[in-house]
């Protein structure tokens, strides 16, 4: 026993030494805490702050590699790049599509994930294997998932083949021709790949819930729906919120699936914002303009997420 007696031992000497020890402890805590976050801080500076400064700078100059000068030699454009964004219908349409993916994919993934999680709350034979199967899609490279769905929904692919077998030869659907259907097919692939993630979060959340309130409600004669609606769901709320926020953030960035499945086509009907920035920056070589779009998106997302996360922080 290194420390002797109660910390608040009622002697003046004890009090003084306690206070100094407390101060030391606080200093030590602060020092220790700072030490522990330093690696992360350094990494963030390296990967986030410095690139952010560069991207802001790039967005304010007029630079394209084909100009033949280095980026720091490029002439200033000030806000011209930003002005151009506001006239760029393709940009806003792409933002809209990405948001559409967030809403559609996020919502459906949540619904399916929650359903599965509730289903899996009780044991049934083969549950371990089924769980493994459900988690598998997450583990495939996205490019392969995109290819799988592209091939499945090809005009003369398996899905249309099955449709013709069931409903006759006229029953093919041109999945990638109609903008809405093409977007839907991409969302479907996303749902297939990311429902497991929401399932995992909700399932572990449900598993960690205390059992007493449910039992109490049952004893009071509540039915399953009432228990779910008024007991389980409120307790699960923080988990649901973070799951949705994380999924929404990831879905907004959707790139690989679109790139592989439609390339954004027909025309720009399925072009998402990541794909558009990629095109502008890395295919067209308008790096300054791409940088301006990046900065604008950073600002918009930061604002939106502030509001979305506040309840989590408070809750």
């Amino acid at each position: 026993m290194a420390s002797s007696g109660h910390p608040l031992a009622d002697t003046s000497e004890g009090r003084a030494s306690f206070l100094s020890r407390l101060r030391r402890a606080v200093d030590e805590e602060r020092f220790f805490g700072t030490l522990l976050i330093t690696p992360m801080q350094l990494l963030l500076w390296f990967l986030l702050i410095i690139p952010t400064i560069i991207v802001i700078y790039l967005s304010l100059v007029a630079w394209e590699p084909r100009m033949g000068v280095d980026w720091w030699q490029a002439p200033f454009a000030f806000l011209r790049n930003y002005a151009q964004i506001f006239q760029d219908g393709r940009f806003w349409a792409a933002i809209g599509r990405s948001l559409g993916v967030v809403v559609a994919a996020g919502g459906l993934e949540f619904a399916v994930g929650l359903g599965l999680a509730l289903l899996f709350m009780r044991d049934f034979p083969g549950k371990r294997i089924v769980t493994s199967v459900i988690l598998y899609p997450m583990m495939l490279p996205w490019v392969v998932v995109g290819l799988a769905f592209y091939l499945l929904f090809l005009d003369r692919g398996p899905v249309n083949f099955v449709l013709t077998q069931w409903f006759g030869s006229g029953a093919t659907v041109e999945w990638f021709k109609n903008p809405l259907l093409a977007m839907g097919t991409i969302v479907l692939a996303d749902i297939w790949q990311w429902t497991p993630f929401l399932f995992l979060i909700l399932y572990s959340g449900l598993g960690a819930l205390p059992k007493d309130p449910v039992e109490a409600a049952m004893n009071l004669g509540a039915n399953r729906w009432q228990i779910f609606r008024h007991v389980t769901l409120p307790m699960l709320k923080p988990v649901i919120l973070i799951a949705l926020v994380i999924r929404a953030l990831e879905a907004f960035k959707i790139f690989d699936l679109v790139f592989v499945m439609t390339g954004g086509g027909p025309g720009t009907s399925t072009e998402t914002i990541s794909l558009y920035i990629y095109r502008v920056g890395f295919v067209f070589g308008q790096l300054s303009y791409a940088a301006a779009m990046a900065v604008l998106i950073l600002v918009m997302i930061t604002l939106v997420t502030r509001f979305a996360i506040q309840p989590i922080e408070e809750g």
Partner: protein, 400 residues
């Protein structure tokens, strides 16, 4: 593109699409080879080993200077099902229907009828596969458009695509696409052609020369031995048939300014594309295609391509016109394509699509700098095949 940003100097030689030369030259990424050409003579535009014209020009030149050595021939080649075409019953039925004998089509009008005739959806075989998808939709439209006497730009870089030639060409191609092709010509990716034609589900296909070799390989194709080759259809102008064959991408070698030994690198690519080595590489490997005149008479090449294909490819190449090769080429083509794909998918009318493409082209031109683009375009249009330039002159397309 990344290398233009970072300039690592890791590369001595670039093998890129030949229509990127403009961007690469303007960014200072690649070296002007003109002096070396004079010193070492790569035998491109003269002598018995010369390139098939006009490949000697548009795979090498930018604003009149030599920036690259062409290493490929990507003139789009036309393939059809010889076995079906040669069937006497078909010949009779065709004559009954159109009142003329069944022959390979010479004009676009004949071509459209020919495709329509052989379109048999009930038998699982459609008339054609021509690109209408996200990346190469412009090919078939441009072939019609240029052969009608159209040009992408006038001498002030104002787009000429929203014209009679442009709109008619697009309307014809939309009709063909929607009526006589599988829908995945529009929605599939570019490799769909390489499945549909060899599996025997289309009568006609227009793609790179590699499709011919692929379709004749009994290991990968159900129609090996049944492939016919033909020259491109054209448009009659005062009794003269003008053909225009898109040369789509096509590889060429250029030299990095940041490499360690640019001149040695140049010597290497000259050796690699040279009359003997290049021949060997192309005949054996199969990813690049023949581009030097004598190779079209070579025994090894004949074996690689087949006796019948090689002369057809030669003839197609002579009428090949380049992709847009100005600075911002990728952007011009992307904006054209996405509008054409929408038109093929039925989301936009022909005129609307071309108008939208033209508007975006104007913006690109203004952004990049109109004066420089004008200079580049005036040089570029002289890389087109001579018959097309003659036609433009006849139509007074450009002031002389």
């Amino acid at each position: 593109m990344n290398e233009a940003v970072v300039r690592t100097g890791d590369y001595d030689v670039f093998l890129t699409f030949c229509n990127w030369i403009g961007d690469m030259a303007e960014s200072g990424l690649i070296v002007d080879q003109t002096a070396w050409w004079e010193k070492y003579d790569p035998e491109v535009d003269h002598g018995p080993n010369r390139y098939v014209a006009p490949l000697d020009r548009f795979t090498t030149l930018y604003k009149g200077r030599r920036y690259a050595l062409g290493a490929d021939d990507d003139a789009f080649s036309l393939f059809y099902r010889k076995d079906i075409m040669d069937n006497p019953d078909e010949a009779k039925a065709f004559e009954d229907r159109y009142g003329r004998p069944l022959e390979l089509p010479k004009t676009w009008k004949e071509f459209d009828e020919w495709i329509a005739f052989f379109d048999r959806p009930d038998e699982g075989i459609r008339g054609a596969h021509m690109y209408a998808e996200r990346y190469f939709a412009y090919t078939a439209w441009a072939a019609r458009f240029i052969s009608k006497g159209g040009a992408y730009f006038d001498d002030n870089m104002d787009p000429l695509i929203v014209s009679d030639e442009g709109v008619t060409a697009l309307e014809e191609q939309i009709r063909l696409t929607q009526d006589h092709m599988w829908p995945d010509a529009v929605t599939g990716d570019w490799s769909v052609a390489y499945s549909r034609f060899p599996e025997g589900s289309v009568f006609f296909a227009w793609a790179w020369a590699s499709l011919g070799k692929w379709a004749q390989d009994p290991e990968t194709s159900k129609i090996a031995g049944k492939v016919g080759y033909m020259d491109a259809p054209g448009t009659m102008h005062d009794g003269e048939l003008v053909k225009a064959v898109p040369h789509v991408v096509g590889w060429s070698f250029s030299i990095s300014r940041y490499g360690k030994a640019p001149e040695a690198a140049y010597c290497f690519i000259q050796w690699f594309t040279g009359p003997a080595v290049g021949l060997d590489a192309i005949a054996r490997v199969g990813t690049l295609d023949a581009f030097r005149e004598p190779w079209f008479d070579d025994a090894k090449m004949k074996e690689a391509y087949g006796e019948e294909f090689l002369p057809v490819l030669h003839s197609l190449t002579q009428n090949a016109f380049p992709d847009i090769s100005l600075r911002g080429a990728a952007e011009y083509l992307d904006n054209l394509n996405l509008n054409l794909q929408q038109a093929f998918a039925g989301q936009k009318g022909a005129e609307r699509a071309l108008k939208d493409a033209a508007d975006s082209w104007q913006q690109i031109t203004d952004r990049i700098g109109r004066l420089g683009q004008i200079e580049a375009w005036r040089a570029e249009r002289q890389n087109y095949p001579q018959p097309i330039q003659d036609l433009w002159a006849k139509l007074g397309r450009f002031p002389s």
